[in-house]
Amino acid sequence: MSRTVRAVRVPSRKTAGVHWGQWVFGAALVLLMLFTLFPFYWAIVASLTPDAALFRDPSLWPQHIIGDHYRALFVDRDFITPIRNSLIVAGTTTIFCLCVGTLAAYALARLEFKGKAAIMAFILAVTMFPQISIVSPLYLLLRSLHLIDTYPGLIMPYMTFAMPLTVWVLTGSIRQIPKDLEEAAHVDGASRRQSFTKILLPLAVPSLATTGILTFIYCWNEFLFALSFTLGPERQTVPVAIALFRGQYQVPWGEILAAAVVATTPVAALVLFFQRRIVQGLTAGAVKG
């Protein structure tokens, strides 16, 4: 249906064409879903397969399932430590950023003042900062403060990306909460502080939760700073620990994949559970222009 159709400015719809298009569309979507899900499936299968069978005639279906890799992960390798490190670092950073960020986001979303647009532009610019460009001074700074290989030595650098992210997402999210209630309260003589704590904060709990989840995910996944500012397994976070897994003779793929499954599960659960809110938080502000 090319020549004749193109001659007409607005080509007419053909029922057969629509059906055909829908089949192609469906098939492409199924292929994309397979592409998306296969690595996860394969990681789970491999994490349950004995090392010796991993690269010998791999079969798409699990042959004999074993739990050895998971046992080795927690018994021989102490994978609990990096999980604890990640939870402490990502958790502390997120909570601190939420506390400080809420004040800033409130001002940026609700108050009218000169310089607001400039502040927003500045914050957006900082979120696009290449991390590598501040690794050297942060390393020297943390070294002189004896903070290399400590929790504060990771939490501080994490603020560089977590703080602007938190303020940006939270501002976008608070802007979407209707102003009516606050304005009514102001008419009734409520102070700014009262309308903030009594009215906006309770309404903003979902926004805070979404932002918190996003910030936590970014911190949980961070690699460059965690690699640069830790020295050994004592303070390594999950991504660094997994990336640096070494076996005595060969790459311990079974354990690596078991660790990958363990590191992925909580994030995947969060995402599946809060899917709608996360999407809103991610795209609020980004494409509004």
Partner: protein, 301 residues
Amino acid sequence: MKTISRLGHEARLGWTLVAPALAVIGLIAIFPLGWTVWESLHLHELRMPWLGQPFVGLANYVEIAKDPRFWAALAHTAFFTVVSITLELLIGLFLALAMNRVFRGRGFVRAAVLVPWAIPTVVAALLWRFIFESQGGIANALLVDAHILKESMVWFIQTATAWVPVVLADVWKTTPFVALLLLAGLQNIDLSLYEAAAVDGANAWWQLRHITLPLLKPAILVTLVFRTLDGFRVFDLIYVLTGGGPGTSTEPVALYTFNALLQNLRFGYGSALSVVIFAITFGLALLYVRGLGVRLGGDET
């Protein structure tokens, strides 16, 4: 209703509330950036403390200009960025159009595509490394079974084939993000436009070309900015997947800088590299915003 004094009060309150966040960002992001520039003008070899930290002017930058490994790394970064973003935009656009429709299982598709975006990049890289690892790996097995490959191959030993898992992993991980940004743009398009076009008998292809794509242009440009800057910062993915190898043939600028800093402990030179990366990303962002008129955020409603 707003009086001058009220506005003055609001301004003071506004700045007071914003101050702590700005202070944190200034202290740990902007101040170090200045420090990086200062370091880049000095010779600073952590391995050779007896050399001190003499001022060397632009010597580090001159060395970068003559450093073939830097130019190669820059070319790798640009290649990686262009190839992966092109694929991500095409697939992302398809996904966004798909997710914007109503069909059975749409919720599942939306949730499923979000998971790769949310997991650590390191994990994504390891999953794809494992898929392409060794001649007995699953990628080889499947490709040989499908008669796409005659015999299984070692992917990470040659530059050309080592890029395949790198680009695939990036496309796999970031296409969801691209699709979501585009989807948000799609949802801003007035549906009555399509209805009017359908009444006039326009088919789906015509609607895509004459309604969707023109109106989606702002969202596409914003996505392009985000992804280009991400691409130029690529580190985790390649560190884990190829380590920059074979040799240094897939090494991006961020990895070269990391090696100069924390492997070779050349802080002066590494800082100069950092400044160059910053300047490039900053320049690219400016180019997009000024040249293409991309409006980032900034809705004041």
